[in-house]
């Protein structure tokens, strides 16, 4: 198969970037999208060019490192997969493929197609965990958890933190990412203990980091490679309202950015 690629090239965070065209030929339909890019890069290196930088690691759809915005969609045209699981058979021979980095103020470009997603770590650090130390915890079966809650928590916990939700959102909002984490922990009895503090700190951190707000277009859900539902956003909103209106006033400690 042959393709015309238009790829965003940008030397580093400071310099201006632009789209550059490349032609690749003789690609097997069974090769993955990254194997196609590997092929391009091998040619670029041999011919003295500068290979295209892109994030990738596990190449089996679970680490969440990959992050390409392909033809107007994060992770490309196939629903429910990451870029690394996208195969060239999903395109037509001769297609022009536009490849851009995630775009969000909170995800600045590092080089070419690589963006800095540390903002997600900052959000998790604001409270996306259960505060227990190693040791001194009760027996695993001492607190039964309804299977339905446990399954729903798992569904939310499958988030791979790739940022496709932010990339697809017209407002570059991180609500699905945070909603998934808040839901995952709030659905479990272990996580409910600090649920109120958690949701408030995480939302505050999200606002500080320059993400947009949710306008319920649900592009995030449509593009999430793990199919995480916007129900999690509603659950977070409910938690947030509950925390603000019903729970006792609590001093939120804001870790400095």
């Amino acid at each position: 198969m042959n393709f015309k690629l238009k790829i965003w090239r940008q030397k580093n965070a400071k310099e201006k970037g632009g789209m550059v065209s490349y032609d690749v030929t003789g690609i097997s339909p069974d090769s993955s999208f990254f194997e196609m890019l590997d092929f391009l890069n091998q040619q670029l290196i041999i011919s003295g060019g500068d290979p295209v930088a892109f994030d990738h690691d596990c190449r089996e759809g679970i680490c969440g490192t990959c992050s390409l915005y392909i033809n107007g969609r994060p992770h490309g045209p196939v629903k429910g997969v990451t870029t690394c699981q996208l195969h060239m058979r999903s395109f037509r021979d001769g297609d022009t493929i536009h490849i851009e980095p995630w775009r969000a103020r909170a995800f600045p470009v590092i080089r070419d197609l690589i963006v800095n997603r540390s903002a997600f770590d900052r959000i998790i650090q604001a409270g996306g965990y259960i505060s227990v130390n190693s040791g001194g915890v009760p027996d695993a079966n001492s607190i039964p958890v309804p299977k339905h809650d446990s399954d729903a928590a798992f569904d939310a916990a499958t988030c791979i933190g790739c940022g496709a939700c932010v990339a697809s959102c017209s407002n570059a909002a991180a609500m699905l990412f945070i909603g998934a984490k808040v839901s995952h922990l709030a659905l479990l009895p272990q996580g409910r203990i600090e649920a109120s503090k958690r949701v408030q700190s995480m939302v505050a951190r999200m606002d500080e980091l320059g993400f947009g707000s949710c306008s319920n277009t649900y592009a995030c859900e449509a593009e999430c490679p793990k199919g995480i539902s916007v129900i999690n956003i509603a659950r977070m909103n409910r938690q947030f309202l509950h925390a603000k209106l019903v729970s006792e006033k609590e001093k939120i400690i804001r870790e400095s950015l």
Binding site: S28, Q42, I114, S118, D121, A157, L185
Partner: protein, 646 residues
């Protein structure tokens, strides 16, 4: 050659760890604040260790090459985590888990370490549940288990097919909590390229900032390696693209012994290789073998008709199928350990009965299971795996059997450590897959997650304290010490030399070549002639690489080709050590199968009288063959027997 001493505590096996914990030195909280620890890697072992050490009050610096700790490759583990909880009341116990792990490892692991692993396994589950890991549950709200990887009890806890992900996110949460608390400092997008040894003790590291290219010097009182396994020496493996041996290898070059490097695990259920351009292999969870039946056609004419697409797999009647695992191992059938299943697949394919376009694949068939349990049950058990398979291969396992073939998956070998998980360099610890200690010659399914977390959460926090108790008078280490400057400039020189050698071929070209040599000569089956040839080929490759690798871009910028080149350079050297280790081990055990040493019916032939030892290799210099030391394995609790799964 010296005999290595693992410093195993005295006393009965079951009491050793308890005795150690009661007797080991402790560090006062006020002193913990003054002690710095560097942790390299943020997988299950690294993240759990960094978090636990931060909780204890030490100052921790944690390094990862990924953009965030949450992406370490532990995340890709699918099947589950073992623990001797005996929640199913099916007769499990700490002793049985210990016994199964020693036996599964073909009696090449250290008893005391493995017993401790089995012992703390139960604490891991408690902690993970408290962290919010959503393990699978019954309708009554309690945890459920499955039997995994040939175990005769159901002791595996799992979170659908994403157990590694859920456990890692738990550890990542704990780590994030410590980062927020200021006890752990995160250095992401860093490659750790060298260890710094001051007065014989590990005191720091040299890292390259992958974004800016800056060579950084980081000092601490002690260094913990948790950089994972070295499966990528085979180029094609189930490891992540960035998984590498470099931190461990730099420790080896600085004097840490490297143990049993030839023990690599070939996982039986991976998606077969389909072309030359392929960059990676994808694992299909071993749990599939619980319900899937493995077969190849029994008749050569069916093999040919399949390959010519004249018939479909389902057209072959049951009597013309060779369910070779069920045939050879009636007791365990499709659930034999990984090494046995892998070799059996290779045997059938080498005999010409393989399926698929290349002939290097076997069927894993769910038709019977779907008939027996129903489509919905199978979907709930394996739905996500089937989906993943379909995405890659464009075939639905509901309609046609999966095709699988063994692939490199895990490396049992690694840095030699004593009972305290310390390498032969004082103050340098190695945990998780990057040490050698617990899996012997073959790792059982669902044991890797257990070991990573056991080391990080429950073992290292004690043993590192025992070491650091003697360091409380050591002031903060200065990274301007001459040893740091020398190490940093050596790293820079090495990078410059790689970068400016005027070569013409890409890093991947050499890496592919390395993978081919290793797979053919030091893969699932090894022999003297092949290994000897491999030594020659590797030497040639090392020379070609040094002269011929081409690295574009600059040193002081994001340069993935430079990263890869550093890693491949170390993989080539490691490859040689693996081959040497495989050569000296003239027996077949676990993942190491020497064709010269097999029974008449093709089973592995272990030689306990000569090879019941750990081979620990010492670096002697760049062009000098490594020296071997032995640690004799003494089995006091367990009687050595030939593994039989028949």
């Amino acid at each position: 050659m010296t005999r290595l001493n693992a410093r195993i505590p005295e006393g009965p096996l079951a009491e050793k760890w308890k005795a150690y914990k009661s007797g080991c030195k402790l560090v006062n909280p006020n002193n913990k604040r003054k002690l710095d620890i560097i942790v390299i890697g943020t997988g299950l072992a690294g993240a759990s260790a960094a978090a636990s050490l931060g909780e204890l009050g030490y100052n921790v610096k944690v390094f990862c090459y990924q953009d965030t700790p949450r992406r370490a490759h532990s995340i890709a583990a699918q099947g589950g985590i073992n623990a001797a909880k005996n929640y199913q009341n099916d007769g499990d116990s700490v002793y049985r888990l210990f016994y199964d792990t020693i036996k599964g490892g073909d009696y090449r692991a250290r008893e005391a370490n493995v017993y401790r692993l089995a012992d703390v396994s139960t604490n891991i589950i408690d902690l993970c549940v408290a962290q919010g890991v959503p393990f699978a549950r019954e309708y009554g709200g309690l945890l459920t288990n499955r039997s995994f990887g040939g175990a005769q009890v159901s002791r595996t806890f799992y979170a659908r097919g994403q157990t590694g992900q859920q456990l890692l996110l738990g550890a990542y949460g704990a780590l994030s909590r410590q980062i927020a608390a200021g006890k752990v400092q995160l250095f992401n997008r860093r490659d750790v390229l060298d260890m710094v040894i001051v007065d014989g003790k590990a005191r720091g590291i040299i890292a390259r900032n992958l974004v800016t290219g800056e060579i950084e010097r980081h000092a601490a009182h002690t260094v913990v390696l948790a950089n994972g396994g070295y499966g990528n020496v085979f180029f094609l493996s189930t490891n992540a693209m960035g998984s590498n041996v470099t931190p461990a290898w730099s420790a080896y070059r600085k004097g840490a012994f490297f143990a049993n490097p030839c023990f690599t695990q070939i996982h039986p259920t991976c998606i077969p290789v389909h072309g030359d351009y392929q960059s990676k292999l994808t694992l299909m969870s071993e749990s599939l073998r619980n319900d899937g039946r493995i077969w190849v056609p029994a008749k050569m004419k069916d093999v040919e008709r399949l390959r010519n697409k004249e018939i479909k797999p389902s057209d072959i009647p049951d009597e013309d199928r060779d369910y070779y695992l069920e045939r050879r191992y009636p007791a365990f059938g499709n659930l034999v350990p990984r090494d046995v299943a892998s070799r059996a697949a290779k045997e059938r394919c080498d005999a010409g009965f393989g399926v698929g376009s290349t002939g290097f694949a076997v069927f894993l068939d769910f038709a019977d299971a779907i008939k027996r349990k129903g489509h919905d049950t199978i979907d709930s058990l394996y739905g996500n795996l089937f989906q993943m398979y379909e995405q890659i291969v464009a075939d639905s396992p509901y309609e046609t059997p999966m095709m699988i073939y063994p692939a490199v998956h895990y490396t049992m070998g690694g840095l030699w450590v004593d009972y305290e998980l310390m390498t032969t360099i004082p103050g340098l610890f190695a945990i998780g897959e990057c040490n050698f200690s617990d899996h012997g010659a073959n790792r059982l399914g669902a044991s890797a997650l257990m070991q990573g977390l056991a080391d990080g959460y429950f073992v290292l926090p004690y043993t590192i304290g025992n070491y650091l108790a003697n360091e409380i008078h050591t002031p903060r280490i200065d990274n301007d010490l001459p040893e740091f400057k020398v190490a940093a400039s050596e790293v820079s020189d090495r990078l410059n030399k790689l970068k400016n050698n005027g070569g013409k071929e890409t890093v991947d070209h050499f890496h592919r070549h390395l993978g081919k040599i290793m797979w053919e000569h030091c893969g699932m089956a090894r022999n003297d002639a092949g290994l000897t040839e491999a030594l020659y080929l590797l030497n040639e490759l090392r020379y070609d690489f040094a002269k011929g690798v081409k690295i574009p871009g600059a040193m002081d910028e994001y340069n993935p080709e430079l990263e890869k080149a550093c890693r491949v350079a170390d993989f080539i050297d490691l490859g040689e050590l693996m081959v040497r280790d495989a050569l000296q081990r003239r027996e077949s055990c676990g993942g190491h199968f020497r064709e010269e040493y097999q029974t008449s019916d093709g089973e592995a032939l272990r030689d306990d009288s000569h090879f019941a030892y750990v081979a620990a290799w010492e670096y002697k210099g760049r062009d000098i063959a490594a020296g071997m030391h032995k640690e004799d394995l003494q089995f006091k609790e367990i009687k050595l027997s030939q593994r039989s799964y028949k």
